[in-house]
Amino acid sequence: MSEIILETKDLGITFGGLKAAQNVNIKIKKNQIYGLIGPNGAGKTTIFNLLTGVYKPTAGTFYLCGEELKGLPQDKINHKGIARTFQNIRLFNNMSVVRNVMVGLHDRPEYKCTVFETLFRLPRHFKVEKEMRAKAKELLKIFDLEDERNNLACNLPYGKQRKLEIARALATNPKLLLLDEPAAGMNPNETEDLVKTIQFIRDNFDMTILLIEHDMKFVQGLCDEITVLNFGTVLAEGDTKTALSDPEVIKAYIGG
């Protein structure tokens, strides 16, 4: 029996009268790749926003490794171990690739350095800067971005921007990685590459991954378990194959 990383209990949020998500119960075990799918407007990204603290849930709660994180601000939730990427890529466009990753490393306890120390250029500033740069390079090497480390992030091609966003999220040393439509806008080659990257992350970083995706082939090839959402409620959940062949799910996707 492996450890449960993320557990949501009756998680829900209403915007005015609109129930964007309700009674969502998800249990993700360690080292799982968990899929969150559903038609447009089903509330998938809303769930991500709830889990990362962008919205405060109006109902229910969620736990990361048994610790309740409901109501914490975004940066605190990130420090506790949930990192995310965005549906529309959000990089620090005017900063170089390596600096993007270094921002991700910013709040790790091992790179702590007070403002006072940096203003007076005490030895720890130089030590921390050097270590951060080395660590960032190491991460970029894994994602095959090392040669581009001095380019501005906005000048990278689309697929590499996606990778950089994942690298930045991993730099924060999360326990759970949330990927919002990582394969969106990618060509088949890039998608294939991405599948390998995600599996690599799980195996080498000992990571648990929750992802939103529309590409069913991608989901089938990658996810161990999925939850299907529609109109903010859970339609089906469980093993990927069984859940996808659920008649309710097919109805929601195809209609009729």
Partner: protein, 378 residues
């Protein structure tokens, strides 16, 4: 840590340092500098401190603050008052000067925190309005104080220093400001601030405490505005609240914008040139021509802005680019990926497909191809 001594990181310290040292040497060895020249130097130092500190908020944090003159006003009054109170005790010396500077800076910093906590929840235009209101409130507060406390409408008279030496201290303070601001920007904390400017949502999701860094930057910026205020009070012998109006804040903002957002050297150059222009116009145009002063000032600003941004002048700009000239001078390899100005982004169209891929696709229909499979283009 001294393996790679990057000269362009220290070039501004070196230039300002050498200039100050030379001028100080002239004064200290008994040479006489023109008093109007000294006045201009003091004003330049004040402008540089103001512009560099404001560029922290506008250029690096990406928030618009229109209350910089307000913080300066607080610093000028409190620093000036401290000097008045200390003069009978400590005399008219360096100690009084340093304590006044520290008091002015500290009070401005406290004001920065007090304004920052509620104001930084706002964004963009709203923050600009709040800071603008702060500037006006401070101005009228000091205007309505009693004559014994802060001089009221007549203004506060500050102790008279020997003007010969003030500019030296002013430029030392410029160097201190530069050191603090640049060390802050070129550190992990500065990186976090730039990240907030580039994408606040992503910065939050990456674990950056956005509120903390906004407040820190805002306070740091206010502190140095306070320092500039104290210098101003010493330079002018008198502090009048009307000086620190909305126009003064805009003047500082113009320096930052003209120098290029997020460029400290740019801010320094712009601050120096604008101050020079301002004072020269005021002294050259006398009598009836004095009316033209603001008109000419505005015209020159418009010309600079047009020159910097007009697409038609792009070729000309690139040919006579100070940046590229400096690079050549310092024998840096020209690396287009490292240029941070608009030229780098000018013609980048975000596409999801790499152009090489599109160009390598063979578009000739299969039946038109010859047997070697090279395509039937010939």
């Amino acid at each position: 840590m001294f393996k790679k001594f990057k000269i362009n990181h220290y070039i501004n310290y070196i230039i300002i340092g050498i200039m100050t040292a030379v001028l100080a040497a002239i004064t200290l060895t008994g040479g006489r500098l023109d008093s109007s020249f000294i006045y201009m130097l003091e004003k330049m130092a004040i402008s540089i401190i103001l512009a560099v500190s404001l560029s922290l908020v506008v250029g690096f944090l990406g928030e618009l603050s229109l209350g910089h003159a307000g913080f300066m006003c607080v610093g000028a009054y409190l620093g000036g008052k401290t000097a008045c109170l200390l003069e009978p005790l400590l005399g008219n010396g360096i100690l009084t000067f340093i304590i006044s500077i520290l008091v002015g800076a500290a009070v401005a910093a406290v004001c920065g925190i007090i304004i920052g906590i509620p104001a930084l929840r706002l964004r963009g235009d709203y923050l600009a309005i709040v800071t603008l209101a702060f500037g006006e409130i401070v101005k009228s507060l000091f205007q309505n104080t009693s004559e014994e406390s802060f001089g009221g409408t007549l203004g506060l008279d500050t102790p008279r220093y020997d003007k010969k030496y003030l500019f030296i201290f002013a430029f030392i303070l410029v160097l201190v400001t530069l050191a603090v601001v640049q060390n802050f920007i070129r550190s992990k904390h500065g990186r976090a601030v730039t990240a907030i400017r580039d994408n606040e949502i992503a910065a939050r999701a990456t674990g950056i405490n956005v509120t903390k860094y906004k407040l820190l930057t805002f306070t740091l910026s206010a502190t140095f505005a306070g320092v500039a205020g104290v210098l101003y009070s010493f330079s002018n012998y008198t502090v009048q609240s009307l000086t620190f109006g909305y126009n003064y804040s805009i003047d500082i903002l113009v320096m930052v914008v003209l120098g290029g957002m997020g460029s400290i050297n740019g801010s320094i150059i712009a601050a120096t040139l604008i101050t020079f222009l301002d004072i020269k116009l005021a002294t050259v145009l006398t009598g009836d021509l004095a009316v033209l002063q603001n008109l000419i000032y505005a015209l020159i600003l418009i010309i600079i802005v047009v020159y910097n941004n007009a697409p038609a002048l792009k070729g000309f700009r690139e040919k006579y680019n100070l940046n590229i000239f400096m690079r050549k001078l310092l024998r840096h390899k020209h690396d287009p990926s490292k240029i941070k100005d608009d030229a780098a982004k000018w013609d980048v169209v975000p596409t999801k497909i790499e152009m090489n891929e599109v160009l390598s696709i063979d578009l000739t229909p299969p039946e038109a191809r010859d047997l070697t499979g090279k395509g039937g283009k010939k």
